[in-house]
């Protein structure tokens, strides 16, 4: 067991009530309410500017809310944020490991920030290096590590104090597929051991595979708070047909839609949503310039349906 948090009487880990954050006149988070219970793996999803990162910042007490009530681990935030932070772990979006230090020194220095005893830290370091498979790199400098190793070290660092809650801000952004799988495996193991985990992501496959619960945000609101299965079942048609290629337009003209089928066109790709699209699929044969993908709907389809397709820059 890499992380065995001491069980607490209250199973409510996070309780947010009408939480808002304004920057001047700009409202970034607009009266959101949610509760996260012990042992949950909760993903906060949303396009850029949805208010995910601001919500996380409020959770760790690094920005005060404009209004609303927030408790984390039963402690009022931001009033008792420091005490709370002693009991949680945070993995930042961009690694902020100390490049001057070796792997072990990074963990040792970070352990001091928590006021942990030297012997406790040394014992913990050995456990954590095993958990993230960095034993061989113990004395390596940070700039000798690959991107995946740095991420694993960031996770190990966040676990130094045996946290009761782990918060990750886009944990696998910028990593290659193998490394993402590896990070997911670590997170799953932590959840199996009873750790409560909150992560933000805009990778739908990541959310679908890891999270038992998804809070979908946009423009500072919570659009949905469900399991991924429920979202896919309740918020979108069962099947999707993607058609793309140079002759999409001609094919579309030749095959006008019948029945309850919804269509969205993005550039040269058409998305069809419906219960049964097999009749439409059949018409695709004999159109040489076309490619298509007929599949069950997934979380990404829900995401795009609920937050729209327009680009969100900055």
């Amino acid at each position: 067991m890499i992380n065995t948090p001491v069980p607490k009487p209250s199973p409510i880990i996070v309780h947010a009530e009408n939480l808002s954050k304004h920057y001047g006149k700009l409202c970034v988070v607009d009266g959101i309410s949610f509760q996260i219970n012990q042992g949950e793996f909760c993903g906060i999803l949303g396009p850029n500017g949805a208010g995910k990162t601001t919500t996380l910042k409020m959770l760790v007490g690094n920005t005060p809310s404009t209004s609303g009530k927030l408790t984390v681990l039963g402690l009022p935030i931001p009033q008792q944020a420091r005490e709370m932070r002693g009991r949680i772990g945070v993995v930042p979006q961009a690694d902020n490991l100390d490049p001057d230090f070796t792997v072990v020194e990074n963990l040792r220095v970070y352990g001091r920030y928590f006021g942990l005893k030297r012997t406790e830290v040394e014992k913990r370091i050995t456990e954590l290096l095993g958990f993230v498979a960095l034993e061989e790199k113990a004395d390596a400098c940070i700039n000798q590590l690959s991107g995946g190793m740095k991420r694993r070290l960031s996770i190990a660092r966040a676990l130094i104090n045996r946290p009761e809650l782990l918060i990750l801000d886009e944990p696998s952004t910028g990593l290659d597929p193998q490394i993402r799988q590896n990070i997911w495996q670590l997170l799953r193991q932590l959840q199996r051991e009873g750790l409560t985990i909150i992560l933000t992501t805009h990778y739908m496959d990541e959310a679908e595979r890891l999270c038992g619960r998804i809070i979908l945000m946009d423009h500072g609101h919570i659009l949905a708070d469900r399991t991924p299965e429920e979202l896919v079942r309740e918020r979108i048609e069962p099947h999707v047909l993607e058609v793309f290629g140079t002759s999409v337009k001609a094919w579309k003209m030749a095959n006008p839609l019948t029945g309850p089928i919804r269509c969205e066109q993005v550039g040269e790709t058409c998305f069809y949503y419906g219960a049964d699209l097999t009749s439409l699929v059949k018409t695709l044969d004999g159109w040489p310039g076309l490619r298509y993908d007929y599949r069950p709907a997934n979380l990404e389809d829900v995401f795009l349906k609920m937050t729209g397709r327009e680009l969100r820059d900055g």
Binding site: R82, P92, N96, D98, Y113, G115
Partner: protein
């Protein structure tokens, strides 16, 4: 209080470890340069100047160089290195995810800046004593004053850092703040040589008072009245520290 100190020391420990890793260049820059200045100017210029205020020019300059190094050590740390930790390496962000507050981080940084001033002053003092440039044991009082100098100029530098958007910004402070202070503060020559109004102006600057305390201690003229010179540096320290904490809270907790 004990808990506070423990948290500040955690920040101090991080910086001390980083410093130890580059100790060779750190010592070369922090020690060799002031010593070159001391001996080149002290003996070279001293040959023409002769005595100042009843002591040899090099003995006079020793106190100036100790004050100057204690200021420079903390200023450099508070500007360039603190900015690097805050904005480039995001070391502070990591600390803020742990149970450390902005106040803890600033106090830990200041403790470290005072330590650097202390190290710098001690080493120069040691060399100067070896050359017989110090008078008696009262010179040991220089050490706490060097630490105060570190707190004072460190906190002033942190105020600048709290406004900085890039390293270039520090040129204003160095050119318009630090350099005039060195020239008017009595490091290289007594401010008495300056016109009255400038002399009065320099008495508002903390470096002047640091030099005024260190110089008699180096040349064996200890007196309790020197304590009055504590007021200005202490006031600068207090105000800059509180202001820096307030500024960093506004900047980082939004």
């Amino acid at each position: 209080m004990a808990n506070h100190l423990l948290r500040w020391l955690a920040v101090w420990f991080r910086n001390a470890l980083a410093w130890r890793k580059s100790i060779k260049t750190a010592l070369l820059g922090g020690l060799a340069e002031p010593l070159f200045n001391l001996f080149a100017l002290g003996y070279g210029l001293g040959h023409f100047v002769g005595e100042v205020d009843g002591i040899t020019y090099i003995a006079f300059l020793t106190a100036g160089i100790i004050s100057l190094s204690s200021m420079n050590a903390a200023t450099f740390e508070g500007l360039y290195l603190a900015y690097t930790r805050m904005a480039v390496l995001k070391t502070w962000e990591g600390m803020m995810a742990a149970p450390l507050s902005i106040g803890d981080i600033v106090m830990g940084e200041l403790l470290w800046m005072a330590s650097k001033s202390l190290i710098s002053a001690s080493l120069i003092l040691l060399v100067a004593s070896g050359f017989g440039l110090t008078a008696d044991w009262h010179v040991l009082w220089v050490l706490p004053i060097a630490a105060l100098s570190g707190f004072c100029f460190g906190s002033m530098a942190l105020v600048m850092t709290s406004y900085a958007q890039s390293y270039d910004f520090f040129v204003y402070y160095i050119t318009l703040g630090v350099t005039p202070m060195i020239l008017l503060g009595g490091v290289f020559f007594p401010p008495d040589a300056l016109p009255g109004i400038i002399r009065q102006g320099s008495a508002c600057l903390p470096l002047y008072h640091i030099v005024e305390m260190i110089r008699p201690l180096v040349s064996g003229r200890f007196a309790w009245t020197l304590l009055t010179h504590l007021i200005v540096p202490l006031a600068f320290t207090l105000i800059s520290t509180m202001f820096a904490i307030w500024r960093f809270k506004r900047r980082l907790l939004r």
